[in-house]
């Protein structure tokens, strides 16, 4: 008997019932607006959103905003991964360092990402640095924790094997522990990408007035709900696309890591 998974992620036959439900919801939404059942003044019909998408695509605003958000996501994510893996390797391979820093991590980690926005604005004003600060600090933790945990989870015997072959400490870390910890590290790297997208949008909404996040807020203030919904959908699709891209890249370049990698998304 097949394992039942939410939305049948394991089964490859198309989920007709699900697609039909979505289509019906879209139709009901459209009809309700045309007939005037909803008395929400600012709820656009799906057809209006599609027209809005065409408008924004033609004017080039959509592309500019998307590129800006993509740039900050990738920059912030790259910094977070580099810093997270480095600190994770340090903490994972040294019990002493771990003893004298775990509590600091536990205190700093639950800091709500958005609390960094005012400080970042204070330090960097309206600039991409503000966005990067808001993206990097919170998305560092999943990489750091997973790298550290991955290293600690490697069986000690593998290290002994390395010593038997008279490998140096650095070589043991690089040739034995790092490859063994890669699946765990990749999980952290993916969580951090998903986070980076959300944080970039967040930073643009209340911090740096550029990109998709700011576009959503400014269309809301301009009372153009149709255009606002276009940006909202683009943000959702961007997250899905980046995640799919990363899963693809990882399953090609680290086949061993990909089994664990596709696990639950939350």
């Amino acid at each position: 008997m097949a394992v039942r998974q939410f939305s049948g992620r394991l089964s490859w036959r198309p989920n007709i019932a699900g697609l039909v439900t979505m289509a019906i919801c879209g139709l009901v939404w459209e009809m309700a607006i045309q007939v005037g059942v909803f008395d929400y003044q600012y709820l656009p019909a799906p057809s209006a959103i599609i027209r809005g998408a065409g408008e924004l695509a033609a004017s080039g605003e959509l592309i500019t905003a998307t590129l800006h958000t993509l740039e900050s996501v990738f920059l912030g994510w790259a910094i977070a991964v580099a810093a997270g893996v480095s600190f994770g390797l340090l903490l994972g391979s040294s019990p002493l360092l771990r003893r004298y820093s775990l509590a600091t991590i536990e205190v700093l980690r639950p800091m709500p990402a958005i609390a960094f926005v005012p400080v970042a604005l204070l330090l960097f004003g309206f600039s991409i640095q503000t966005e990067l600060m808001v993206i990097v600090l919170p998305s560092l933790w999943p990489v750091l924790i997973n790298t550290m945990g991955g290293l600690m989870g490697v069986h000690a015997r593998l290290g002994e094997v390395g010593r038997t072959f008279r490998l140096s400490r650095a070589a043991i870390l690089y040739k034995v522990f790092l490859p063994a910890a890669t699946p765990a590290i990749m999980v952290g790297v993916r969580i951090s990408l998903t986070l980076a997208v959300v944080l970039a949008v967040l930073a643009e909404m209340v911090g740096n007035p550029e990109g998709l996040g700011y576009a959503v807020v400014s269309q809301q203030q301009a009372l153009r709900p149709d255009l606002m919904f276009v940006y909202v959908m683009v943000i959702g699709l961007l997250g899905l696309a980046l995640n799919a891209l990363l899963v693809g890249v990882v399953s090609v370049s680290f086949p061993a890591a990909s089994a664990e990698f596709k696990g639950p998304r939350w």
């Binding site: 004298y100 536990e106 205190v107 958005i114 204070l122 330090l123 967040l202 899905l240």
Partner: protein, 268 residues
């Protein structure tokens, strides 16, 4: 009334959740160096003692407590709503295969939308008020709870359903004895993921709409370039996140003793 044994067990649990204090050395070193290098007020890096002064000033002005109360109320109510709706819907969806298949793609699609962008949507549709604040927080916190609950409900050992039929359990007994024990650990897992989301979205609503709360206070002090106050609020929000996380870890440990996450799942 808490019995003495339970209280000491509770305190032990609380202590077990906090890592040894010697791990605070890097943080304290950083703050000390900061204080020594920049001992006074500054537009960018005010000294940690200035943060303390700013906190006292905020407290004296009478702004801090109402703002904090507003934020905590929204957070708790929004999370409670999300738990109630998310767990209820999750069990309904998870225990029925057709419902699960029909709603799956729609829910996946809605979940793909990052929680922060629901704020502008809700402001347009519902206007600036407390209902909107609650709706937005509940809506963003609901997904992890809903998805964890429904996948747990969908994976209940089918044998247990046969057992329930054999014993002719009533619906109420069936829920109490079979569904709840297998779903509760995963509702908790969902809540743990939802907590930081709910905090972030609560603060975001306050920042974007200037509805009273810590978020509004933060953005206001940043706009007035009161740097010490900005840092002071950052520390307070950080402490709030830390305390909520810790408190929930304790609650989770207590509840999991009653309903441990084992026995009901197939090893897949």
């Amino acid at each position: 009334m808490v019995k003495r044994g339970e209280l000491s067990a509770f305190l032990r649990l609380a202590a077990a959740e906090i890592p040894p204090a010697r791990g605070l050395v890097p943080l304290l070193t950083l703050l000390t160096v900061w204080q020594l290098l920049a001992p006074g007020p500054s537009a960018y890096f005010p000294a940690p003692f200035e943060w303390w002064r700013a906190t006292a000033l905020l407290w004296d002005s009478g702004q801090l407590l109402p703002a904090f109360a507003a934020t905590v109320t929204t957070f708790v109510e929004g999370l409670a709503l999300a738990v109630a709706i998310g767990a209820g819907l999750g069990v309904t969806i998870g225990t029925s295969r057709p419902v699960e298949r029909a709603l799956g793609p729609l829910l996946e699609f809605m979940r793909a939308i990052p929680p922060p962008v629901t704020v502008p949507i809700a402001t347009l549709l519902l206007g600036y008020d407390v209902t909107m604040k609650l709706t937005v927080v509940a809506l963003s916190a609901i997904w992890p709870i809903l998805l964890n609950t429904s996948s747990a409900a969908a994976r209940v050992e089918p044998l247990l359903f046969d057992v329930a039929r054999t014993f002719r359990l009533s619906t109420a007994d069936w829920i109490r004895q079979i569904v709840v024990p297998s779903v509760v650990p995963f509702i908790l897992l969902g809540i743990r993921v939802a907590i930081p989301l709910a905090i972030v979205v609560t603060l975001l609503v306050e920042m974007l709409t200037s509805l009273p709360g810590i978020g509004a206070l933060m953005i206001q002090s940043q706009r007035n370039f009161q740097s010490a106050q900005v840092y002071a609020l950052l520390v307070m929000v950080g402490l709030f996140g830390f305390v909520v996380n810790d408190l929930f870890a304790i609650i989770e440990a207590i509840v999991l003793r009653r309903w441990p996450a084992r026995g009901v799942f197939r090893s897949s």
